[in-house]
Subunit: 325 residues, 2 copies
């Protein structure tokens, strides 16, 4: 089967590609496991060449807001689509039009191309706990009303409703997951307002001093890269009907403060040379972060067998194991 | 001030126009009452000529999915927009592409044109309790999760989220209301799956036999035309900030069964010649209706001073007073 990952040049897209290549099989449109013969990584920029040496991988670069590009990408024979491409939170907030073009129009093009296949392909959509905002409980749960207070969150929520409606009509077999903040992201900082939650671990471990733009008391709902890739894989493989009519699922993220993260770091880092952490609040970022959930707890995700993390120490260790050694 | 009603040729649009013309004033973008100098009724077809004799009224016919049409419609000087135009529930279910074009793309064009004015105009959007579906309580409340199970409901919910996001950005001052089923609609039956709830009163009172396509036990959350027009007016006039970040408000609809409606009719109709009511279930319509709320109760709407109805007898009497006498 042919599998497409949009945002395949990004951090999560590349991790997901490695996982799919390692597993070698995914459930096909007939409901039976099939061999992955072609894995297409789509993004605005190509991933590093050393990650695409596998003969099953092809790379397509282009603009997800271009209808012809997306139709060509999701060509006949495509069995599954992982739709991860998006403008991140701070980017969609800074450029309203770009956010709607990529995160809403681009998503609609992906869904329309999937529908045009006529085979009801599985579509896994990366949503976000930015779906929640404003006057929300510290821990968001399955029944918490969805009240985004960013354009990014709004666009993700709209994508979820589209996924459910296209699935209800039988045009595709969609699944959307609300991801907590993913920590630790390797590589360079991106434009996400949540970037500091990775930076506070990554930069010091790479010997670079880090200025955290929110208070030590600031808490985030987080999930490790390992766990979120397990969730993507599990979400693709489960029977879509198990999700019910609403194809959007909250994932459980554990809660950690930036102060506790800073304290855990020396315990796990051992003898590595470390950069220093200082705190200097950026009011714009603090405001965005204060509007996000501090933890997420989904009984539905647990019933459906989705994994979760439970300590910042394990998350830091996983980053060291996966990215530094 | 210049006021635009999209869907201005429809039943609610025309009633709303009469109300605005009668009041003569609306709160303008400066927050102070202004005289309505021009009222533009926009629709795919023109309203009856006898309803547009007022010199303040102009009629524009056109396609709401055409960007130039919508930009020309919402011209500089437009102070307020009531966005009622949409493909109804059964129509959007029958023609998926048309529903998304009109109900999503059309709404986006209206919001973009309002944003382009640069004056933060008030925009009142007609949403629907079709926002709720599936496994919902008999009475939906402010905290009930929004889980549409029709394309129409999905499109209305997406419109609400857009209204909130555009309002948050300060591009417009939007307000969305989830309308219960409006009973009694005068005139010819339309393509709405809920049409029978009006037909069961209207047709017999016009001497025509009526076959109700759902069981006598089927309950609906309903609101009279008088009350919903009061709600539109009130929604326009209140301070948008009172709604909070989520600009979407559920309206309270009272619950009535089709059997109780049929029983109330002879008591109110007096000596009028009446058509007979029989029940013959259409499984497709019954299924749609069974997925809708049986009542809606919004403490938030009541706190904000929105009116509601409380008896089918009063609703039938209002139809006789307003439409037959």
């Amino acid at each position: 089967m042919r599998v497409v990952i949009t945002g395949g040049g990004g951090f999560l897209g590349r991790k997901l590609a490695q996982r799919i290549l390692r597993d070698g099989r995914l459930t096909g449109t007939g409901g039976k496991p099939e061999t992955v013969s072609e894995l297409v990584l789509f993004d605005v920029v190509a991933p590093p060449a050393d990650e695409t040496g596998d003969e099953r991988v092809s790379v397509v670069t282009g603009d997800i807001t271009d209808p012809d590009t997306v139709r060509d990408l999701i060509a006949p024979g495509t069995g599954s689509i992982f739709h991860l491409a998006s403008v991140v939170s701070a980017g969609a907030e800074a450029d309203f039009d770009l956010g709607y073009r990529v995160n809403l129009d681009g998503t609609r093009l992906v869904l329309e191309a999937a529908r045009a296949l006529g085979t009801c392909p599985r579509v896994v959509f990366a949503s976000s706990i930015a779906a929640y905002g404003g006057d929300i409980p510290e821990t968001v749960e399955d029944t918490t009303p969805v009240t985004p207070e960013t354009s990014y969150g709004t666009q993700k929520v709209i994508g979820e409703y589209l996924i459910s409606d296209y699935s209800r009509k039988g045009y595709l077999d969609g699944r959307a997951m609300r991801l907590p903040t993913i920590v630790v992201r390797p590589g360079k900082p991106n434009a996400a307002a949540s970037g500091f939650a990775s930076g506070i671990v990554r930069e010091p471990l790479n010997g670079i001093d880090f200025v955290c733009p929110v208070t030590p008391e600031s808490q985030m709902a987080i999930m490790s890269p390992r766990t979120v890739i397990d969730c993507f894989s599990h979400m693709h493989e489960i029977d879509g009907a198990a999700l019910g009519a609403s194809r959007a699922l909250l994932l459980s993220g554990f809660s950690v403060s930036m102060g506790a993260t800073a304290e855990a770091l020396p315990k796990i880092a051992g003898n590595r040379r470390r950069g220093d952490i200082t705190f200097d609040v950026d009011p714009a970022i603090q405001k965005i972060v204060d509007g996000w959930p501090k933890a997420s707890q989904s009984a539905r995700a647990e019933r459906l067998g989705f994994p979760r993390d439970d300590s910042i120490e394990a998350v830091i260790q996983a980053y060291i194991d996966d990215e530094l050694e």
